[in-house]
Symmetry: C2
Subunit: 342 residues, 2 copies
């Protein structure tokens, strides 16, 4: 078989504000791949089916000399992130053609992976689509369940405020918190997202672009738990209307990812209210909670008890648009890019 | 006996920046008291011996309409705070003239207290001065010991950075951390304070006014624990050079007490480094740790193993100056105002 095009999304220039498709990232078709003959050197050849766009990726779109916890994407090279693919050929022990792998994949149509270091073989429940395994049943769902279990110290009757409650992490937090008997306040940036949050059980759901978060929290709080996905002025508001001994689960601070600067007005309240803040990355909680996640959460996704939404973009060439929509907030639900069908 | 003057420190005007003695607080001598005949109504008459000036008092010098966790001082009324006095007369069961009481006292020479609600009878070790009971053996010492015990999760060989390490809380933290086998980095604002921090065991002590905290932490860190008394840019620096899974014990953020605004540059690091922040007020830890404090800390103060410094001001009329010096940072050691001798 002759070589075919291997489309890729390349990191082209450091964005000053939001990433701009065609400028900060570009879709490149100059590379080809011979699927039958490309050397694997003991690794595997993967056809990428699904790629995930996630807020943390903004932090990797930076100049390499800027230090940060996560390694930056390399200029001129493909982005990478969560994804799922099907194995076309394998020289790697224990993996066979036709199996599916999930984990970190380069943003290209075909990937030669040297090993399973960043990937695992996954099996799908027949009732779920593969895309669910990068969403409710994947990293975002695990983030919600494991962060909640590790840090919330939730008690029935307490009040939690969930920011970005219509996103894949926030929506799962809402549903787990309701299951635990809490009153749930949740916010998002469109009326459509507000409706979804009500459908999945939020007691109070509001559009933060048209309703002042401080007014809502003053009326419906004080809060015992804040699930923070946004940081900045929302974090300030949550601190202002937090109870004594409240727990702030710091999952994300998307408001600071572009500017990297957060003018905090009431940070000292953490002292007077004896608050605790827990920043976390789900990676470090996987060993402790993966079994519980599979036993307690996935069956509820399969049965339909736990709901989710997806924002599906078709075609790798549109990944830059999906990422931008996610960061700007115009998407709805888990950002999924369908690269190919099997 | 004829009525005598009962000098008082009154809250006169809300300070815009640092408090100004004679303007925001005034020493008032217009009130008199008849020590033999003043009605006690079942309470006690206390002669104030020692008063404490502490950073948190700045937060109470505000307009009553400004909401905050701690109640504001009342304009035209005396300040109040930690102190020790001797009982002159008592109608309160279980307390006799000649006993000493410690706790919250109004800032005046003589106080009629309705009960022991905010006070407790205290006994002094003969080797210690009463002033130690508002310092190393009092609230600041308890703050250090109890906050460390509750939140530090300290392990031998870890690195802690203690801000305001020459203050009564920080100095005790340094000594407890050394006892636990940690490497201690400590900062203060004068060379004299730096010398004191070295004397009590700090491995690295520096003057933050002449040495860049970031340079020190880059060289001597990364840190596993930050004992925060200052907040603001120092907190940012500590976050930048913190280890994964580091613990930030939020005891004070004095840099924000005047402005109430903290421009944080790297707050998102709390997520990527899986950091935890614990704000606390010692009041809530007293039930759990008071016995341990008396058993483990006070004997070491008596034996001289745990050291302390005091900045003694004589005369209630100078209390405003002592408070200002504390907030500006020109004092050295625990701020003690000697109001009277027995």
């Amino acid at each position: 078989m002759a070589p075919i095009t291997n489309g890729r999304i390349l990191f082209n220039a450091v964005p000053e504000d939001y990433p701009v498709p065609g400028k900060t990232t570009v879709y490149d078709t100059t590379e080809t791949i011979d699927l039958e003959n490309v050397p694997l050197n003991g690794g595997l050849l993967i056809k990428v089916l699904i790629l995930s766009v996630d807020p943390y990726m903004r932090g990797r779109l930076r100049a390499p000399e800027v230090k940060s916890y996560m390694v930056s994407f390399a200029l001129g090279k493909p982005l990478s992130g969560g994804g799922i693919g099907v194995v076309l050929r394998s020289e790697f022990a224990g993996v066979e053609a036709g199996q599916h792998v999930g984990g970190v994949l380069q943003h290209q149509e075909y990937v030669v992976a040297p090993s399973l270091a960043m990937l695992e073989v996954i099996e799908k429940d027949p009732k779920l689509d593969w895309s669910v395994y990068i969403g409710a049943a994947g990293m975002p769902g695990k983030t919600a369940f494991m962060g909640w279990r590790e840090y919330s110290r939730a008690k029935k009757g307490e009040v939690v405020y969930v920011s970005t409650g219509a996103g894949p992490v926030g929506a799962m937090v809402i549903q787990i918190a309701k299951q635990d008997g809490l009153k749930v306040i949740a916010s998002a940036g469109t009326d459509e997202k507000v409706e979804f949050m009500k459908e999945i059980g939020a007691d109070v759901a509001f559009n933060y672009k048209t309703t002042d978060v401080r007014e809502v929290l003053e009326k419906e709080g004080p809060i015992d738990i804040f699930w923070d996905n946004v940081g900045g002025s929302t974090l300030d508001a949550a601190m202002e209307f937090a109870n004594m001994h409240s727990r702030f689960i710091e999952c994300g601070q998307i408001s600071g990812y572009n500017s990297g600067y957060q003018p905090m007005k009431v940070l000292t309240l953490m002292i007077f209210k004896m608050m605790s803040f827990h920043g976390f990355l789900v990676t470090f909680l996987l060993p402790k909670y993966t079994d519980a996640f599979k036993a307690e959460v996935v069956p509820k996704i399969v049965s339909g008890e736990f709901k989710y939404t997806e924002d599906v973009t078709r075609g790798l060439d549109k990944l830059g648009d999906a990422l931008r929509a996610l960061l700007v907030g115009t998407n709805t639900g888990k950002g999924v890019v369908v690269v190919a069908h099997e």
